[in-house]
Symmetry: C2
Subunit: 189 residues, 2 copies
C-alpha cells in the first residue's frame, strides 16, 4: 500500500467493486457527517458508471445521503477491518463516528462527503433519483474514482505479500474473508 | 465438497451472496432454458429474503426471466470457473448453453428453471415486479435455498484445503480471485 491515490478511468471504475468487497459509505450534510459499512454494494453499469448500494431508510447515513444527494464509496483493506466492522455496528447520529472510531479522512474531489484515508479504492458518487428508494436501494453515478497505486493499476488488482493490504469480504457475526488467490482463464469464445 | 445439498434457512439465505461471489443465473420458459454468469448479484433484504441481480434487458436470459417470472441463482466454486466464464461470454439464444458447455443440472424445488449441479450454494427466486426494470435491475424473492453441506453449515462457510472447493470472485478479462483466508473480529460494540 503506497498511500498514493491514482485516478481510475471512470468507464472502468465500477470494476473496483466487481469482486464483491465490503465497502465503507461516507456522507455529509449541513455540518454533520457519517460513515457506515455496506457489504451490499455493487456495480450497476459501466458507462456512465453507476452502482447500487443498499442503505436502510432508517439510518443516519440515509438521511445525509438523501439530503446531500452525494455519497462516498471506499473499499477498505484488512488493515481497516476492525473499523469497518465497527462502522457497520454503531449509529453515527449521536456523535461523530469518524472521531469515535479513529477513522481518518481527506477531502473528496467532487462531492462534499469526506473520504476515508488508507483504503484500497474510492468512488465518489451522486445519487440518481429513482422510485426504488422504497426498497432501500440507492443508485449512484460515479463522478470520480481512484485506487491505491501499489495494489491497483492498469485496471487490475495486484495484491502482494502483505496480508493486510488485501480487500475483504464480509459474511456475518464478525467473520470476513480476505480476497484470496488470483487466477486467470482464457477468455476465448 | 460433498455434493450433498442441505437446506439453508430462508431468513439467513441471502448471506450466501454476502461475500460477493460471482453467480450463475439459470432460467427457463416454454421449452427453452439458459444459464449466464452474473458478478453483479447481491442481497437486498433478509426477511423476506430478496436479492438484486443485474441482467441486461437485451439478453436471452432476461427474455426467459421476464416471461417465467423465476430464476435460479447459484454460487459456483473454482471447479466450475471455466464454465462460469464461458457462460458469461456466449449467448444461449441459438442453442442450449448447458449442453454446449457441459453444465449438468437438476430440477429446482420451487421454480421451473434448472439448477446447476456441483455448485457451492443455490437460491431459487421469483421475480418481484418493479419499475426499475429499465435499469436492468431484476429483483427476486428467494423461495428456496440450499448449500453444499461440506462447505456451508450453521450459516457459515467452512472452506477446507481443496482449492477448487472455494467460491470465486470475478474481476474482468478472465481474471478471478478465489475466496481467501477467513478471519473473525469481535462484534462487541
Amino acid at each position: 500500500m503506497s498511500g498514493t491515490r491514482s485516478a481510475v478511468d471512470l468507464e472502468r471504475c465500477t470494476q473496483l467493486l466487481g469482486h464483491g468487497p465490503v465497502t465503507l459509505i461516507t456522507s455529509a450534510h449541513a455540518g454533520r457527517r457519517n460513515v457506515m459499512a455496506a457489504a451490499w454494494a455493487m456495480p450497476l453499469d459501466f458507462v456512465p458508471p453507476k452502482l447500487i448500494v443498499i442503505i436502510d431508510a432508517r439510518t443516519f447515513t440515509r438521511t445525509l445521503v438523501d439530503a446531500s444527494g452525494e455519497f462516498g464509496v471506499q473499499v477498505p483493506t484488512r488493515a481497516l477491518a476492525a473499523q469497518t466492522l465497527a462502522a457497520g455496528s454503531v449509529c453515527g447520529a449521536a456523535d461523530d463516528k469518524f472521531e469515535r472510531l479513529g477513522i481518518e479522512t481527506f477531502a473528496a474531489q467532487r462531492i462534499s462527503a469526506p473520504m476515508v484515508a488508507g483504503c484500497a479504492a474510492w468512488l465518489e458518487c451522486r445519487v440518481i433519483p429513482d422510485a426504488s428508494a422504497r426498497l432501500d436501494i440507492v443508485l449512484g453515478e460515479v463522478v470520480a474514482a481512484y485506487a491505491d497505486a501499489d495494489i491497483y493499476s492498469d485496471n487490475r488488482w495486484h495484491f502482494g505479500a502483505d496480508p493486510l493490504a488485501r480487500t475483504i469480504h464480509y459474511v456475518a457475526g464478525g467473520q470476513f474473508f480476505a480476497t484470496g488467490e488470483d487466477f486467470s482463464l482464457p477468455t476465448t469464445r
